[in-house]
Symmetry: C2
């Protein structure tokens, strides 16, 4: 009996998703073919369908992967962890990918695609809501422990932090964009905005 | 001899641009027809061509209008004006339009269109560069007069302020988006980030 090695299966799935993400970012979703994806991932088109039924499923899986990574991070935050440090960690996961010029453009593609794919738009919007709620929760804990300014509208602050993270993906890949410097300034803006003393 | 009243001509041009902007925001550039624009602007299709040769020219004109409004504002800033107040004024002009739900979606349409129209992408990018340079100039004057933190990388700070303004257009029209509250928090973020004492 043939068996599927789940570790190898997952590794191959991620390899296909990475190849597809780079192509979607550069060529757009519409113009990318499954043949392009197979060529870049180094697999046969017959093999592709053991992992994904179609191109759209790969697009959704890339997005779902981010969602799972963030859910796993949130689940791992303990009651005793410093909420400000936890917030910075969440920000770093949210901006994961800006250092890779291959994926610059993917965020715009996601937004453009959401404009004419209702199911996908609902997924993106649901994810944004979850993320803002998680951010708001961390901000509330930080405010309760006196780590940040408790006088702010924390739900709106979470919205702004999320929008700033998104802006990095829109700008990633532009001339003169240095990811590490941008991330340092992002941390500084958030720290000063929330009135955290930088340590 | 028939003459053209330049004031009336300009008013009609603006009326056509406003009608087109609302349609582009809601339906997208591709799906909007010149017939739609004429119907909404309340003019005949014969009359349209006294103002614009085609749909693309209207799209470019909407964008150029913003550019001219900002250039006019910048030209009016005097050497003796407080650079921090001038910066807040510039921000308010940059975000002009977020209070109108009709235009929500136009920023995304501009970005999407820039993705497959090289001449337009070059215009957008040139405008962004000009705007960031103007912001940087005001930040440098504010820093020189001790109004803001002079230790920041001011060109990168200008990039962030510009990205935050853009994010308002991306979020405008979302459920729970209250323009005046968002603008107040935008001012607060910038003031705290730059270490200006709010008065």
């Amino acid at each position: 009996m043939r068996t599927v090695d789940p570790v190898k299966h997952e590794a191959k799935r991620r390899q296909i998703m990475a190849a597809a993400a780079a192509l979607f970012a550069r060529k757009g979703f519409e113009r990318t073919t499954t043949a392009d994806i197979c060529a870049r991932a180094g697999i046969s088109s017959g093999a592709l369908f053991h992992y994904f039924p179609n191109k759209r499923a790969i697009f959704l899986a890339i997005f779902e992967q981010d969602r799972r990574d963030i859910a796993a991070y949130l689940a791992g935050i303990g009651e005793d962890d410093d909420p400000w440090e936890a917030l910075l960690g969440l920000i770093d996961i949210m901006v994961d990918g800006i250092e890779d010029p291959e994926y610059a453009g993917l965020a715009l593609e996601v937004m453009a695609h959401a404009g004419h794919d209702e199911e996908f738009a609902a997924m993106v919007s649901g994810f944004d809501t979850e993320l803002r709620q998680a951010l708001t929760g961390l901000l509330e804990r930080a405010a309760a422990r006196g780590r940040i300014d408790a006088g702010l509208d924390l739900a709106m602050a979470a919205e702004w932090i999320s929008a700033m993270a998104d802006s990095l993906f829109i700008r990633a890949g532009a001339p003169g964009f240095v990811p590490a410097e941008q991330l340092r300034m992002f941390h500084l803006i958030v720290a000063r905005f929330l009135r955290v003393e930088t340590r």
